[in-house]
């Protein structure tokens, strides 16, 4: 999750600017440290020794130099800064952009695609195509940050913020909420998968499709499906054709996600059981009520959820 390995045009612009400023900073630091060392250790005496020659308390040339010098450096930094600011915030979406709606909640992420596909906490985007995220909040201020894809953008209730970039290298890039949002701010993580255009199209089609059919032989999962349909889970979670809740993440293709609980746990049967059984242990303050099912029922539910590819 580093800022130093840019994988998008936006991250690359920022990184170049960062390297420029670091270089200037290094020069200034070298000057200051050298002057410091010379002043303290070379061009001074210690009390009790003979006094050194210089006793100046002003020097116009010097004072002009150390006022103008930094000013020039800062001008040189501000020009690419302003250029990057404007370049990175286009007023309208670039041509051909994929516009994705992001809704941030305490403590998970909802992603909606123009073709109606919906998913949570794991964002898939095609490489080398402009992406325009429009960021909305379902409750309070959050911040969308994927360091390798660019700087962060706050998600503010009552306004729509935008983040525009082109991801250049396929891969998986972790992200995390970057504005303190309460008890489980630390647990509001997510993943961005930059796919090749073909892979993305395939993923998109799969998301639009209904839930995977349960093989007739998988009795455990079938039982789990019945359990789900009659459970309180349906109040908050949608599985296409089965339930309509939209307070929590859409679970239609839950098993296609690599993590759960907003990037906190790997998506394994044990973790699913752990999450459903006692969500607050993983995520203090989570709005999801604990569902302490007896062993066999929990196994069935987990099997069903893990069948939702």
């Amino acid at each position: 999750m580093t800022t130093l390995a840019p994988k998008s045009d936006l991250a690359q612009w920022i990184n170049s600017l960062f390297i420029e400023v670091t270089a200037w900073d290094a020069i200034i630091l070298a000057i200051v440290v050298s002057a410091f060392i010379l002043a303290v250790f070379v061009f001074s005496s210690r009390v009790g020794e003979a006094a050194p020659a210089s006793a100046a308390t002003s020097d116009l040339g010097l004072e002009i130099a150390w006022t103008l010098g930094p000013t020039l450096v800062l001008v040189m930094i501000s020009v690419p800064t302003i250029r990057t600011i404007f370049r990175s915030q286009p007023a309208v979406a670039p041509a051909g952009a994929l516009e994705i709606k992001v809704v941030a909640h305490q403590w998970w992420w909802e992603f909606g695609y123009p073709d109606g596909a919906k998913t949570s906490n794991e964002l898939h985007i095609p490489a080398n195509r402009p992406i325009r995220l429009s960021l909305e909040s379902g409750d309070i201020i959050h911040s969308f940050w994927v360091p390798q894809l660019g700087g962060k953008r706050d998600v503010v209730p009552g306004q729509i913020n935008e983040l525009t970039f082109i991801a250049t290298v396929p891969g998986m890039y972790p992200g995390q909420c970057a504005e303190f949002c309460g008890l489980s701010h630390a647990n509001m993580r997510f993943r961005v998968f930059v796919d090749s255009p073909d892979e993305f199209a395939k993923w998109d089609r799969a998301q639009l499709a209904g839930p995977a059919a349960i093989p007739a032989t998988d009795l455990l999962a079938s039982n789990g499906a019945k359990l789900f349909a009659n459970s309180p889970c349906t109040t908050c979670h949608m599985i296409q054709g089965i339930s309509k809740g939209y307070i929590g993440p859409d679970l239609t293709h839950f098993a296609s996600r690599t993590t759960l609980a907003a990037g906190v746990l790997k998506n394994t049967p044990e973790n699913v059981a752990k999450w459903i059984g006692k969500p607050q242990e993983t995520k203090p303050g989570a709005n999801m009520p604990a569902l302490l099912l007896p062993g066999p029922k929990m196994d069935a539910l987990v099997a069903y959820l893990e069948s939702l590819k």
Binding site: V21, P52, A55, S58, T81, F86, G150, A186, R189
Partner: protein, 824 residues
């Protein structure tokens, strides 16, 4: 040159002696007030440090369970709040500022000693209120910056944020009073001959800081008031569904918050500018530029607040503007660093612990400034903000810059405050442990930030690769903890040792070193005449300390005290102690407490006692003026009477107070989702009451004129008339408010209504306070105590009254008249 005078009697009691506990509770001596700030700050420093250590323990390993998420969030909130409001500002202003200002400018106390003590007790009450959540309701846990709308009651129910809001309101009041006091003192009470360009740098920095306090804190006050109204009274100042925006909080908070960091940094700069010359035995390099750079930094600090909000989506124009202004502020700061190094250059250095900390500060603060330049560039900041990189940045400037300076200042000024020296051997251990611990703790945070670790997170994933650096930081924090233990031990040892410090252990350059260590209560037996910069150096060595050749009297002892010391100090009359500062502060605390735990009777009692105590203090001040040799006619170095400067300073801060309220009204008035709008206003009626208020200003002028010519009858008539007209105006407002209520517009109806009622309501409160003030003066007049010689008292209420009227003119225009303009 006069003959050597007879020495003073052998034992002049120092300010620390005598009076018992009651003496301390009722003290208004700036030095005692300073020591009380010191003790409380050292306590809160330990508490805030403990919170930091607990944070570092929790972050030792991923998915750690040393602290729960709830406790962690409370701890990082309290660590920030405590360090900023209960440690750094109290140390810089309450302790060092209070102790040194009168001593450095050749005065006997600050301009308003009772207000000074009240500032301290209010700060104590604030510290208690901020921590009462530990006993009931939970400690504040939404960050030291408390972003809306997380802080709305819906998202953070319970008492925790209530304690935070009330505690900060009380703390802010304390600080504003201090700013007012310091500014007035510096302008009005400098010794004869001490022009601005001859003041010590610490005084320059405190003058700029005081102005910053006066114009920055009101923005925080308004932000907190809006939050208080949202949480207690059901308004929606930060609720998006009502048409408002949580970003309003950020603007108000950072309009305060950025000047706030300069309120912390500037006094530190001032102190370094004295400590480095002292131990280089050389005058400060570039004094004029150093003074101007302080002023420039203060001025610019008010224009950069948006750099805390680069990620909020303000748009490219705003982002660019704030990026440029934030870079600009680096220029005068750089000038200071170079000037400090140039001061050391060619000096005859005495390598004491104080000097070590000062030199260390130069390097650490430079690092903090350099990462600051990165933050100023908005695109870079979008990666760095809200990550550990910015945590590194501000700890380098606040700890590496400000705390290092505070440590240097401790070692430097401790002998003056206590009459003891802090141990040099222990000091060197303290220093090196601090340097190692500090850099080990905070340098890796730059890297963690670059590696994507967000801040304010109670844990992190094992697969992120952040574990090792976090462990290094935790080890560093423990080393820092040991450093602080050494520091506290050094203090303990020095206070329990028998060895006494000389008056001038460092061969100092400024006037405080001319007094005994510790000084007597009255500071100076005779106020010195100032003939140049580095006033004490000049008095000692007789030649200009500010340019050209300095006396490189390599380590020679200072010469005899300047001639002309009087034989006695019996003519000096210091003001008597007062119980009112303590009582009024406790009463304010009662108001806050009552509001939170819903005991309305306590609120009323608290309010009544507060008002009575303040009136009591006013009478004490007036009586003191009568008893001592007429300080009302004492020459003010600013050319304007002390109390007038005080009222003008207060008016300055009130401008920002009302500007924040008015701006909010303008932004919100047309964003209501439903409900009545400006059409509900009754302009004809309000025009009448406006006219009456304006006429009251005329009556006020007449009251002053009557007082100045000694006309007792008309003085009372016009004073009473002014108050009466004020009451009529208020009556009109009450009528207006109740009629709106009956027409269906209450406080919480919509954005227009809440902005209107809060703005106009607070203005009305100001009018009411003016009426109260006038009534008190009217009573004094009728008792024959408001004669010609006390015309200034009437002038002061007049200043306040006219200001409140001018604000009303603005409100009437922008709120009422603008509605009559189509399209406004």
């Amino acid at each position: 040159m006069a003959a050597q005078p007879k020495p003073l009697p052998a034992h002049q009691p120092s300010y620390l002696e005598g009076g018992g506990i009651l003496g301390w509770l009722t003290t208004i001596d700036h030095k005692r007030v300073a020591v009380m700030y010191l003790v409380s700050a050292l306590f809160f420093m330990a508490l805030g440090g403990f919170e930091a250590m607990a944070i570092r323990v929790q972050l030792w390993s991923p998915d750690n369970h040393a602290l729960s998420a709830a406790t962690y969030n409370a701890f990082f909130t309290m660590h920030g709040t405590t360090m900023v409001f209960l440690v750094v500002m109290p140390l810089l202003l309450g302790f060092f500022g209070n102790f040194l200002i009168p001593l450095q400018i050749g005065a006997r106390d600050v301009a308003f000693p009772r207000l000074n003590a009240m500032s301290f007790w209010l700060a104590m009450v604030a510290g208690v209120l901020l921590h009462l959540g530990w006993v009931r309701g939970g400690l504040p846990d939404a960050g030291w910056f408390g972003y809306a709308n997380l802080t709305e009651r819906y998202f953070t129910p319970g008492l925790a944020i209530d304690w935070w809001v009330i505690g900060l309101l009380v703390s802010g009041t304390s600080t504003v009073l201090t700013g007012l006091n310091f500014l007035t003192t510096i302008i009005a009470m400098r010794a004869p001959g001490m022009t601005y360009m001859r003041m010590p740098m610490f005084i320059w920095s405190l003058m700029a800081t005081s102005i910053l306090i006066l114009i920055a804190f009101p923005a925080l006050t308004i932000g907190l008031i809006f939050l208080l109204f949202d949480r207690f009274f059901g308004t929606h100042f930060y609720v998006a569904s009502a048409g408002a925006t949580p970003i309003l909080w950020q603007h108000l908070f950072w309009l305060f918050g950025h000047p706030e960091v300069y309120i912390m940094a500037l006094p530190a700069f001032g102190m370094i500018s004295e400590i480095i010359p002292a131990f280089s035995r050389k005058p400060l390099f570039g004094y004029p530029m150093m003074a101007y750079s302080i002023c420039l930094i203060a001025f610019l600090s008010y224009g950069v607040w948006g750099h805390h909000m680069f990620a909020t989506g303000m748009g490219p124009v705003a982002d660019s503007a704030f990026a440029v202004t934030s870079m600009l502020i680096a220029i005068p700061t750089g000038v200071k660093i170079f000037s400090w190094i140039a001061t050391v250059w060619g000096g005859s250095l005495r390598m004491t612990t104080a000097f070590y900390f000062a030199l260390g500060m130069l390097l650490e603060f430079t690092l903090g400034g350099l990462s600051g330049i990165m933050h100023a560039s908005a695109p870079i900041d979008l990666q760095q903000t809200d990550s550990y990189f910015v945590v590194a940045h501000f700890h380098y400037v606040l700890f590496g810059g400000v705390i290092f300076t505070i440590m240097a200042a401790f070692y430097y000024w401790w002998p003056k405050v206590t009459g003891r020296m802090l141990g040099e051997r222990l000091g060197k251990w303290h220093f090196w442990l601090t340097v190692v611990g500090f850099n080990l703790t905070f340098f890796p945070m730059h890297i963690l930030g670059m590696w994507g670790m967000p801040r304010r997170t109670y844990t992190y994933g094992a697969d992120m690769g952040w574990t090792h650096l976090n462990q290094v930081e935790t080890i560093g924090a423990f080393i820092l903890g040991v450093a602080f233990l050494v520091f506290y031990f050094n203090i303990f040892k020095s206070l329990t040792s028998a060895e006494r410090a000389p008056a001038d252990p460092w061969d100092g350059r400024s006037l405080e070193w001319s007094t005994a260590s510790p000084p007597p209560a009255y500071n100076f037996a005779a106020i010195p005449q100032i003939r140049g910069r580095d006033a004490w150096w000049m008095l000692k060595y007789g030649h200009a300390g500010s340019r050209g050749v300095a006396a490189y009297a390599s380590g020679a002892a200072p010469s005899q005290p300047p001639p002309g010391e009087p034989l006695s100090v019996e003519h000096i009359h210091m003001p008597a102690p007062s119980i009112f500062p303590l009582v009024s502060s406790l009463a304010v605390g009662m108001i806050g407490l009552g509001l939170i735990i819903d005991w309305y009777r306590i609120i009323l009692i608290g309010a009544a006692v507060t008002v009575l105590s303040i009136v009591g203090m006013g009478f004490e001040y007036a009586d003191y003026g009568e008893e001592s040799h007429d300080p009302e006619h004492a020459p003010s170095s600013g050319g304007v009477d002390v109390r007038k400067i005080g009222v003008w300073s207060f008016i300055g801060s009130e401008c920002v107070f009302f500007a924040s309220l008015i701006s909010t009204f303008i932004v919100y008035k047309s964003r209501s989702v439903s409900g009545p709008g400006p059409q509900i206003l009754n302009i004809p009626l309000t025009s009448v009451s406006t006219f009456i208020l304006l006429m009251s200003s005329l009556l006020m002028v007449l009251a002053l004129a009557a007082t100045q010519r000694g006309d007792k009858l008309w003085q009372r008539i016009w004073l009473g008339g002014t108050a009466a007209f004020g009451l009529i105006f208020l009556g009109g407002q009450v009528y207006e408010f109740t009629s709106f209520y009956h027409e269906g517009m209450g406080l919480t109806t919509n954005l227009f209504s809440q902005s209107f009622f809060v703005l106009v309501g607070f203005h009305g409160v100001h009018v009411a306070i003016g009426v109260l003030w006038l009534s008190v003066l009217l009573v004094a007049a009728m008792a024959g105590k408001l004669g010609k010689s006390r015309a200034l008292s009437v002038e002061l209420v007049g200043l306040y009254w006219h200001f409140v009227d001018v604000v009303w003119i603005i409100i009437f225009t922008l709120v009422y008249l603008m509605q009559a303009v189509p399209g406004a």
